[in-house]
Symmetry: D2
Subunit: 348 residues, 4 copies
């Protein structure tokens, strides 16, 4: 254990914080060394501070760790952060300024020009943006973000299509899981036997992040993909797993076989041996009624994106359904995979 890289978690008691802990329990490279949360929790043993909501038990070592205040003093040099945007806006720069590599799931800085918004399989080449950050020059610290939970599955499924065929228009309607709203999050009175066709700020995030992620880094900044996108975001009574109905218009005529091949052959991390990376980033479900959140969210240990129902669209070119695990692939796992990539690049 002594050779593992110590990791700090900012926002450790939240739903995503809990996933960091679960996913890092047996991680071969990283070890949790520090947990921070709000003032309400700080000073308590983590096991008392957290309302653990995951299906696997809270590791005993972690339960006994005392929650630290959310301050860089005493924190390790690598921080995984998943906190409210309003708090992140203030705290994350403090940690970067203190020399930390801050890998953030928060939304506060995703669209900031000198902050890379990265999915390792999609746009690892945006990472050099960190060199544009003032903290990097001053203290060595920097900030790297991963996308919103509803964006990430979509962009992974679109990336090989964008590369091979060009993408001009994107339609996406989401049916998002309740875990995406944290805890207590969505009131049961709002979702049992119901649908809530609204998630504050989500459509705007999805539309903006998707184009940045598929954009290109040129001259120290990212030019977003020159495509148009429209999102409809909904909450449904599912615990984990976001389902998305997608229609796409390509820059050229594309066959079903070409799309399936683009998905099947997409594996840009192959050979890098990143522990969180799924063997097959995009899995095709041949059944007519798949993917489904309950049945497909755990593919690739929760890091795979499942696609299915590819068929022609009367308005754009093709339509399909995709699914990804929102708190693994779409949040905690995304941060960890970013850290693994940075580590393999010698940046941690």
């Amino acid at each position: 254990m002594k050779n593992k890289l110590p990791i700090g978690i900012l926002g450790a008691t939240g739903m995503v914080g809990q996933r960091y802990i679960q996913l890092l329990e047996d991680h071969p490279w990283f070890e949790i060394a520090w947990l921070a949360a709000s003032d309400r929790s700080s000073g308590k043993p983590y096991g008392e501070a957290v309302k653990w909501r995951l299906e696997t038990p809270l590791p005993e070592r972690i339960a006994k760790m005392v929650v630290s205040p959310a301050d860089p003093t005493g924190a390790p040099k690598v921080i995984f952060a998943s906190i409210d945007a309003s708090i992140a806006r203030e705290l994350e720069p403090k940690f970067a300024a203190a020399g930390c590599a801050v890998l953030s799931n928060s939304s506060a800085f995703r669209m900031t020009p000198n902050v890379p918004l990265v999915i390792p399989e999609v746009n690892a080449e945006h990472l050099p943006l960190i060199e544009e950050q003032p903290w990097r020059k001053e203290s060595g610290g920097y900030l790297v973000t991963n996308p919103n939970c509803s964006t990430i599955g979509l962009v992974i499924a679109l990336k090989p299509l964008a590369e091979r065929f060009g993408i001009e228009q994107i339609f996406a309607t989401t049916m998002q899981a309740i875990s995406g709203a944290g805890y207590p999050g969505v009131a049961s009175m709002d979702i049992v036997g119901n649908v809530v066709p609204y998630i504050g700020g989500e459509e705007e995030k999805m539309e903006a992040e998707t184009l940045k992620l598929l954009g290109s880094l040129q001259g120290g900044e990212v030019t977003p993909l020159a495509a148009r996108m429209s999102a409809h975001c909904n909450r449904v009574a599912v615990v984990d797993g976001h389902t998305e109905c997608v229609s796409v218009k390509f820059s050229k005529k594309v066959s079903e076989a070409e799309i399936l091949a683009a998905w099947a052959e997409f594996n840009p991390l192959k050979g890098r041996d990143l522990p969180m990376a799924p063997a097959q980033p995009i899995e095709w479900a041949p059944q007519p009624d798949r993917p489904q959140p309950r049945l497909d969210r755990n593919r690739g240990k929760g890091m795979g994106v499942t696609v299915g129902r590819l068929r022609p669209c009367n308005l754009l070119d093709w339509k399909f359904v995709l699914l990804s695990h929102n708190t693994v692939r779409g949040a905690a796992g995304a941060t960890i995979l970013n850290a693994e990539l940075l580590s393999s690049l010698g940046k941690l």
Copy 2:
């Protein structure tokens, strides 16, 4: 009671059959006089044959009625039908040939050229198509259909927009209730904590029916609306109420206020005093997170369509969310309202 028009129900034990019974219990014009179902049920008291699934009790008079075989002999002259398409294809013509007015919720003949597919608020002017039917000439019988449950709310919301602004493109993603699949219908193992992104044949029905309903009757046939439409249909864990995310491209530039006015002013049945007609066919929900099935499905006694979240669409012109009760507005209530319209026109 003696002056009420006797009605027969074909498919009386199904979910829609049960709704006919519930909605007709105190109907001022119609009275249930005959119930038919499959051979398995025929000969039994209805109360024994049915697995009643509605939240109001089965009326005692109906419970005691003996289920008849599905044959026109002894049936009244007005038949409400909601049966599987494969059976409807055979049975509904038999009843029409025997002189019955068959008002059908089945999908078998909706797209048949000489069969009107009608929503009273939308295209009452298609009803003269019945005069093209051979049965009409021979026995006086005829066949009128109402649309699929996912089509009807959409078309009602689109109709005033099509009239005022012209519609060129329509995107719709549905989140449909389980009652739409009948009983036993959707297995609980498929839908508890889950989404099923597929309903067999539903997307094709929605796309075709929408354009026929918004089309125009000319020279004894309906020319469908010259628009393009793409549907994504999903099943969610909601008992009643279909939610739909819609984007629309108009033939001209349209403002938010114009759309709201078109919806608010749409009431083509006003003054006709049809008992099932809602006072306000399209209700606007001003809250940012509405409509929702649990909270809005019963507006207008289940016959209203609720719209909300009107906002610009990056791809088409405007997008919004709509909701309608799938077994009332979208099935049983639709048949009954068609019957009321025909009755008010002297055709029953």
Copy 3:
């Protein structure tokens, strides 16, 4: 309208507060004249202050009423209260001291010796306890409570059995709806696809209230029923309707027919014409798999208690299942029915 009795609602924005408003909308005797809620809401139009969660629309007249501070000044003389016990402990005596008849759904004073805990069908004879209250003598004001939502259905079902056969032991396991916890109440992450086998304080309330309700008023105080009771309380993913599995030991040997007759013949309010009173307080469901919350909670306009599955118990004598609507029969409707009874007795 001018002859209706003006009613004030304390706790008007809560789930039970909303039910008061819904149930009183067309009440023939009472009219809402005053709404009070927490400081956060006071001064706002009710339509802005409330997050309305019911399936029928918020009445427009009520939406426009301005929420008052929770103070007796300016309040009408009849108050329906449903507020947190900690606040009720302070506020309800203030209103009683100011001369108000306070009809409370709160738990704060249910077990107080000089406060009647009443279900009109069960123990109307406990009402004279109000004469023991100091406020009654000083200002005319008094306090009457109705039981907890899980207690009330149980006690109604037990009352005719206790009268005819004597009850010595009671076992009850509840499966309670989420609306009983208010709004936001139960987090969706806790209940979607889950059961929570714990509701704080509920088992103790059920056990104590049941024996007080079935007790007898003697010499200015209630002697609880000399029976033993054990409750297991659980929360399940149901919106409205508490289901309870009950086993009972009687003081003598009792047949199935005798129990069914006791239930069928129980109607102590018959002839009193109280508007909220159900025609048949206890309805028997003969099907083997009933009662069920979705199908039976609205019997008797939500004021009926449905019983089913009566069968011998290997430990006590008989066991059965009961169901009642927790926010109608179990809360708002209970308060209103208490008010109706008091009004018919000339006490309002």
Copy 4:
């Protein structure tokens, strides 16, 4: 792989059949060699015959296996069976007569005097009953059963208490998961937002099996425990995991600490190294609101029983809540653990 024992599965396409396949995928001792199902499936590749409903993917090797007819010819000598009781009654004896060790999850023969009903941690000493079976003498074949899914968690939790304190009375109310009813099983219209307070035959099975399992083998037959038990069985909207509210009366006065110690120290299989056996058969959950199915069902790889909320009972002595995974501990895992025990005893 060549040294693993070949296993046949009877009822391979059902929910429990699927769990056998999932749990045996990497089993160190056993290997699936033969799959049988109804005539409808026989002759097809398993991947086509099954509607796979588990959260982990169907193993490819199994997907390609051709489903055999349900006949002993060509079947391996060890059969795991989970089929309808009516079919089991006919088929299981055929396999036993053909010399197979039939380890059955079916209910057909559980209460048959010469058939052991076994939970390895509870009553391994009942296994010699197989020597009373005629097949054993004739062909070497025999039949061993495991209990119903609602019985098994209860009996494991009761066993150490029965041993140390004696048990005289048992009350149990279950809230059972939908997977226990197979696929399609419970209709979604019956359980979404609802409770079904009835499972046909379940209460009778629980009551009888519990007493047989806790009974003693004497003179070639099992004398059931001389206790009385009453069960109330309910279905709730949970995918996996049965929750049970239990009250118990002991033969002597028992303290909380004694009960907790009895549970903590219970581990009769310790040291036997059976692969499916949980490290800790009974886990105590100290939180006030646990166990919960979503959070606790996977303890001990789904083979652990979680207990919580131990508190005095007003009627019997103590009450508590227990939870176990109904298709792992309560079905497929139970059969496999029985096979492991028999194998370790040299009986396979």
